[in-house]
């Protein structure tokens, strides 16, 4: 069955080097090298990833939900090196262990998923709880809604965010509105829809999209995008247990490239809260998902520009203190953290991979200009994908890479 599916589904086989993926030992704690072919080499050296046990256990806002020691203690807790897909898998394993009603389903999830996120779950929990569905996205989400309406925990997977649109009706007209329209009698709070998102270096039109903006106006839905393994596990567990339907979008290029020490215990991270990753007073850079690392690189480049572009970076700016914020939850977004930051810095650059027109950045900049009007010293700047489909061979010039972010920071600082 699996063989047949794979053969008939070109869209997954091309994208990921399955052969290479099979060489990985799934339960291994050994980190693998990041994919050199990707456009996010900065992930390999990122200081934002927690490489030791102590910093991992002291992840801000971490909420221990297991039975073990009290919710604040970190002593006696352990971590293990995981990449993002292993952390996602770990979260689902914990959710299913603790909750007998939890099931995982979607296209090709039973053999481990095309991105390995469900590796071994079918063996661990049985095919009754981890199973393949026919290739029908509207069916997958509709099915998950039915499960959740009965109070069960439904963890559905849409193979790529690019293919979530057939389920748009079920998500927007149904999942998001069921609690409201039934006067609170019914709800689908147990529904979480996971989907890989953002560009991967060679995904072309339909393996690269960032559709979070389409869903941002959907009252009743939550949208969460993690940046790292610790975040993926904590936010996914938070999403699965949140009493509202959640769209959980996993930046697919980080599945293997982002590696850090991840607490092995059950914990969650709060939804609706942004996280300040680097503190600064001169300018705020706000982003989420993959571009977090491009922003980090851009900040390094500002402080120490490589010789090839040195002449474009005024020396007066090189000691600028840039504040970097990871939004994490797109809906409802953390306006308080962003407003506080921009009121302090007076400058804001928003970075996202999706196109500019009516992207998430549009909503945020409108709110910020309303709230920070007197404090703004430069126009809110958006660095985004262009308003084009994502052409395969043009990707390097489409995505907001570190150079474009750096340029926007420089222009905003010199405005």
């Amino acid at each position: 069955m699996f063989t047949t599916t794979i053969r008939s589904r070109h869209r997954l086989s091309r994208l990921f080097d399955l052969k290479a993926a099979r060489k990985v030992r799934w339960n291994s704690s050994a980190a693998e090298p990041p994919p050199a072919g990707g456009h996010a080499p900065s992930v390999a050296n990122s200081e934002l990833l927690k490489s030791n046990r102590d910093s991992a256990l002291r992840t801000p806002e971490i909420l221990w939900t297991g039975d073990g020691p009290s919710s604040t203690l970190v002593s006696g807790r352990e971590t293990r090196k995981m990449n993002t897909y292993q952390a996602v898998r770990d979260a689902m394993s914990i959710a299913m262990t603790k909750d007998e009603t939890a099931v995982v389903f979607g296209e090709d999830v039973a053999f481990g998923g095309v991105f390995r996120c469900t590796m071994g779950l079918a063996e661990e929990f049985g095919r009754e709880r981890v199973f393949n569905t026919p290739l029908t996205e509207q069916g997958i989400v509709g099915f998950g809604i039915g499960l959740a309406a009965m109070g069960h925990t439904a963890i559905a997977e849409i193979q790529f965010a690019d293919y979530i649109l057939p389920a748009f009706d079920q998500l927007v007209n149904e999942a998001a509105k069921i609690r409201y329209r039934s006067g609170g009698q019914y709800n689908v709070g147990g529904l979480t829809v996971r989907t890989p998102t953002m560009s991967v270096g060679h995904g072309g039109l339909y393996h690269s999209q960032s559709p979070e903006g389409f869903f941002m106006s959907v009252a009743g839905l939550k949208i969460v995008i993690p940046r790292s393994p610790i975040q993926a596990k904590g936010l996914l567990l938070g999403s699965i247990r949140d009493p509202n339907p959640v769209l959980f979008m996993e930046p697919k290029i980080l599945y293997r490239s982002a590696v850090e020490q991840v607490p092995i215990d059950d914990y969650s991270l709060p939804l609706g809260r942004a996280e300040t990753l680097i503190s600064g007073n001169d300018i705020t850079v706000l982003t989420w998902g993959t571009p977090v690392y491009h922003c980090e690189t851009a900040i390094h480049m500002l402080n120490a520009p490589p010789p090839s572009i040195e002449k474009h970076i005024p020396t007066s700016l090189r000691s600028a203190n840039v504040e970097l914020i990871d939004l994490r939850t797109i809906l409802p977004w953390d306006i308080e953290t962003v407003t506080e930051s921009v009121n302090r810095t007076g400058r804001l650059v928003i970075v996202h991979e999706a196109g500019m027109t009516l992207g998430v950045g549009a909503e945020i900049s409108a709110q910020i200009q309303k709230r920070c009007f007197l404090k703004l010293e430069a126009p809110v700047r958006r660095v985004t994908g262009w308003d084009t489909p994502i052409g395969l061979q043009y990707e390097k010039f489409n995505i907001p890479d570190s150079l474009r972010i750096l340029d926007a920071i420089v222009e905003t600082l010199t405005y």
Partner: protein, 461 residues
Amino acid sequence: MLVRSVLSRSLRGSRAFATAPQLPSSPQNGRLPNTQSHIVSKLQFFNSVTGGDQQIPTYRVLDGAGRPLDTAEMPDIDEAFARRLYENMQLLPALDNVLYNVQRQGKISFYMTAYGEEATIIGSAAGLANDDEVLVRHSTIAINAKYLGQYREMGVLLWRGFSLDSVMGQCFGNKEDTSGKGRQMPVHFGSSQHHFHTISSPLATQIPQAAGVGFALRRTPERSGKNVAVCYFGEGAASEGDFHAGLLMASTIPSPTLYIARNNGFAISTPSSEQYYGDGIAARGPGYGIDTVRVDGNDVLAVLSAVKDARRRCLEQGRAVLVEAMSYRSSSIRVGHHSTSDDSFAYRARSEVEDWKRIDNPMVRFRLFMESKGWWDSTAEEELKDRQRKEVMKAFKRGESLSRCELKDMFTDVYSGEEPWNLKEQREELSALLRKYGNSWEPWKKELAKFTNQGKELMKD
């Protein structure tokens, strides 16, 4: 079961890959990886599901004059149960009559009568367990006939004891609207207590959801093997992609889900000949590998038997089953064919037996059957009509007089848990506007008066 079917399929697949190719010398050796199909050497196209030009037959128990067909096996019903069936069937037009008339008086925004599906709805409701999970969406969609299908299926709720006050509460959107706090358009009922999932307008979306509900029932120890998910839809909704998705899901991921298609020949103005080219909806069931039956939807006893047996198959197989009820409503919209109609039907029915169109009314047919048993007569009929009319009017007047929920409920139930800042801010913005204009701007003032508490809970500082 799931595991077994997957295993057997993959075994079949691997055997096909492992075996050296054989020459197709006889029908038996047609081993293809994805089918157990035989190999033939004669080119032959096929079309009908039943073979030849035969259409799928329609199961019927009573003829148009209420007489049992010779070979039919009668469902085991006594007088009390028959009366209950008939009274519930009659309650639907009784509601129609009142609501249609008050709509003409402008007391509710819209209403529309529809006859002909009483037997399908009440017969099927009676064939289910009262705690089977029901999902409904209307069968038809158009600006001025939105409520047609859903309204009929409210009969399932009435059968289960949903009160007329709750019906009126929803239609008026008053504070007793337990279905949805006045948020949805009329006839979007729902009641978790009665295992009736709240109706919504988008067509067919409930069809894959029902598969998920069925799967959840199978996974709930105290309900596994006892309850099924039941999903009603019209033949128009079966054209939506969600129909395909739903039947596919409920058959492939075994889920005890009973699909009841009401085929009344029309989706608003579109006749079924423009809806599909095949043999109705029933012909699609076998394509999904599920047990399927077509039943005369104007014969309440046939529907009862078919649904009972379909339900049994659902539970036994743990998989989807499809029932197509043909109710051949002669016209899709019959506005104005109102309160006096069924009084006259009763008399005409006996005198004009040859007029099948007139006599093929589900209520008349069953009434004639009850009369032949000595279970019903014109006195009982008059008494029932009178009683139902009074009950409906009483509930109507009550529903009309009640105020709406509190205005603050416009903002509740969007999310559970912590209220997002945007909702908080927007509610405060409205509050400020109400404080500023609520007592002076006439259109708002008039509207505020309709709410419990007149919006004061929002206007206070």
